[in-house]
Symmetry: C2
Subunit: 457 residues, 2 copies
């Protein structure tokens, strides 16, 4: 292992140059004009891996190509097998004018590399690839077989991945999937994420009069759909910050004393957090800490409201309709489909007869939970500690990564979420960056991880 | 009078041709490109009036010209003086594709003339002008002195009119103002409108986090401004359809038994009205009829709602802000400024500390009320009955005509609202039309009106 770690340390400047090269591809999956860049980026990754002595393939799909990279398999020897998942596609860089330097011209400032895709996700899976390189180039035997699955549609919904996983199910059967695409609370706290929230999206529209009506001539003699919408939505959250839909919390388990204690270890300062969000005062479900509220408790959020006149000045109408976009963040024990049914039933029940309610169910993603105390989690925590030199934390994340449920369903494998992103890395925002200390520590963590995971097998 | 009425009947086809000529001007005050048409339209009206033997002037203002037309004054003889108010500017015709024929190419179909401005308001004041023509051309002495004030900014807020009224206060001092710019419930019910609602506009914005936040990562640990807005607005109207702001109804007088009885005479069929509005069920202040709700009771209306993401699909954010446009329709006894103060105070009181409330007060217009039983009203009702051959009704209108309060303040005169518009005349909408029977009856009504008003003087 010393040789591996030494190699990683020695070659860090070159790794950064190579990562820069990778980051130059504007592999924006949401924008059709970048189809060529997507293809070129996937080819580059495969070529780069082959040059390291790895077996790489670019698989065409109905959407963007998926790159697989396999470590050399020792004949007749059964090693544990792990899939490393990542994505080479990136978020759109717009608005360009908010970037200090162009998003696809990587810039190094201090210990950060600025570029679209640096943290999300090129830098993070590239750290794993460099760990593998270190094993190969130092002639150190990898204690595990690894298959990287690096896709190109993560930012637009991962549509091609599940069919790909099903098609290659045999080759991809594994002991666990390792994903570095989540975050850590700060540089001092390397983290294993053991739970993710799910999501259920819904759009509702209240139809009132058949056209916008003059509010002077008719106002007062019919319901106002915008008012009806407000009164309907107002009833979805009670004053304690809980979702006021009957049955919504059925199945939600309270956090164990162990979990609450672990979550309480996460760095948190209310005043700083309030300032960071930019809100006059924090608010959340009564009886829960902010960390719990945002990662371990379900919520309802209004993502958008639309009704009537939105231009300057006033327009004196009773609007014909009013609509809202809602998402519910869900926690383990809640099923998105069932939640959407419950909410729709509830809304239909409380909707007044003076407007017509139209509900469109949107996408859903199941919540995710693995044991934070199981042997794989323990192995991961040891790897984190060895790589970062600090006691790792275990945490839940409030966001959703629907693909981890597909890994469980199709490959039968749990996912170890070992994220390297920092809260100020500007994921999905202008001036995205990746911390170069985390890049280096990420490679060390990966090198240790295969050892630790092999131990317990 | 017989000669006058005979002349009106004989010359009706020509009147319609002349009205068509008047309607050909696209005198759209809201659109700068029509400035030339505005000027040409004002000139046409003055020239047309001069050709009838009237004294007409086009007065330049800071905005669009105001046309005055005076009947010849008899020397040394004091007659009662009335101002006839109207406007030659029209609403924008857009969307063009919904017009069956071009908005400025008048088309006659059955007993209707279709064109932008036909009812609102060219046709209505032209009816009065044709009555004056009948007096002049038949050599019949007008029992009153008349001054027409036809302005060109009614559809954009009448800004130039009050300074004009103040400047010409002496010449315009009068016994009453006559305005045909309101409606009648149907062709069988000629109407005198004796009250108008006032209006108070307000915009509010709730500020939450300093930028849109990822609803997965942060959702649950801060208030959602769209939800806070809904909960705030929901509290503005109670389940009985009353505005739930303390002090809002102070000063509002209940309708007298006489008024309720008169309003109950107006034609109304709940099923037809519901169908006309296109709503699943009617709604309004409990204890009031629909006619009362929409004309004689104050209301709160949400005219627009805006927050977060409004495009297709979903965007999982906690929006940074949420805003609403509100208008309150007011009734006699309520002051717009005071109402805005009350509402702002109320909102500040109930707004949660988790968001920051920003209130922008908008325009206000006072409610209007004249006695429906006074001698001028009685004279107007007799004129309506004589012209239409039917028993007229007295009514309140729910809309606001702020200028009538200026007439009272500046000229010291009440306004007689003798509208000729029918509910299906499509005012402000595509395919605006004017009923030609009402055009003819309007001229007869005008001819009778000066006789009836002179009687009581």
């Amino acid at each position: 292992m010393e040789k591996v770690l030494h190699y990683l340390a020695q070659n860090e400047p070159r790794f950064i140059r190579e990562l820069s090269e990778y980051l130059r591809f504007p592999s924006v999956s949401a924008q059709a004009k970048h189809a060529g860049d997507i293809a070129a980026c996937a080819r580059w990754l495969a070529d780069h891996s082959r040059a390291l002595g790895l077996e790489a393939q670019v698989h065409q799909t109905k959407g963007n190509p998926i790159v697989t990279i396999r470590t050399p398999r020792a004949k007749g020897k059964r090693k544990p097998h792990f899939v490393v998942y990542g994505h080479y596609d990136v978020q759109p860089p717009e608005p360009f004018d908010l970037w200090k330097t162009p998003p696809f011209e990587p810039r190094i400032e201090g210990r950060s590399i600025y570029a679209r895709g640096s943290t999300d996700n090129k830098g993070q899976h590239f750290a794993h690839l460099k760990a593998v390189e270190a094993y190969i180039k130092t002639g150190t035997e990898l204690p595990c077989d690894l298959t990287f699955v690096i896709e190109g549609e993560e930012e637009i919904g991962c549509e091609s991945l599940p069919p790909f996983l099903r098609k290659h199910r045999a080759a991809l059967r594994c002991d666990a999937v390792v994903v570095s695409d989540t975050g850590m609370p700060d540089k001092q706290h390397p983290a294993l994420t053991y739970a993710l929230r799910g999501i259920a999206a819904m759009e509702l529209k209240l139809h009132g009069p058949s056209r916008d009506l003059h509010s002077g001539i008719y106002g007062g003699s019919l319901d106002n759909p915008a008012m009806a919408l407000c009164q309907l939505l107002a009833k979805l959250r009670d004053k304690n910050g809980r979702v006021a839909v009957s049955g919504f919390y059925a199945g939600v388990k309270s956090l164990s004393a162990f979990e609450r204690k672990q979550l309480a270890r996460l760095p948190y300062n209310a005043a700083q957090y309030r300032k960071f969000l930019g809100v006059p005062q924090l608010f959340g479900e009564r009886g829960c800490t902010a960390v719990e509220q945002r990662s371990a408790r379900p919520t309802v959020e209004i993502n958008g409201l639309t009704s009537g006149y939105q231009g300057p000045g006033s327009k004196t109408i009773v609007p014909s309709w009013a609509s809202a976009k809602l998402t519910f963040r869900l926690v383990p024990g809640q099923d998105p489909k069932k939640i959407l049914r419950l909410v729709a039933r509830h809304l239909r029940k409380i909707c007044p007869p003076t407007v017509r309610l139209e509900i469109s169910e949107g996408h859903g993603g199941e919540p995710y939970l693995v044991s934070p105390t199981g042997p794989q989690a323990q192995a991961a925590l040891r790897a984190l500690k060895a790589a970062f030199g600090r006691e790792p934390v275990i945490m839940r994340e409030g966001g959703s990564i629907p693909i981890v449920n597909e890994f469980r369903k199709i490959l039968g494998a749990d996912t170890l979420l070992l994220g390297l992103a920092l809260p100020d890395d500007n994921l999905h925002s202008p001036n995205e960056k990746f911390d170069l200390d985390n890049f280096a520590a990420g490679s060390r963590m990966s090198a240790h991880l295969w050892q630790e995971l092999a131990k317990r097998d």
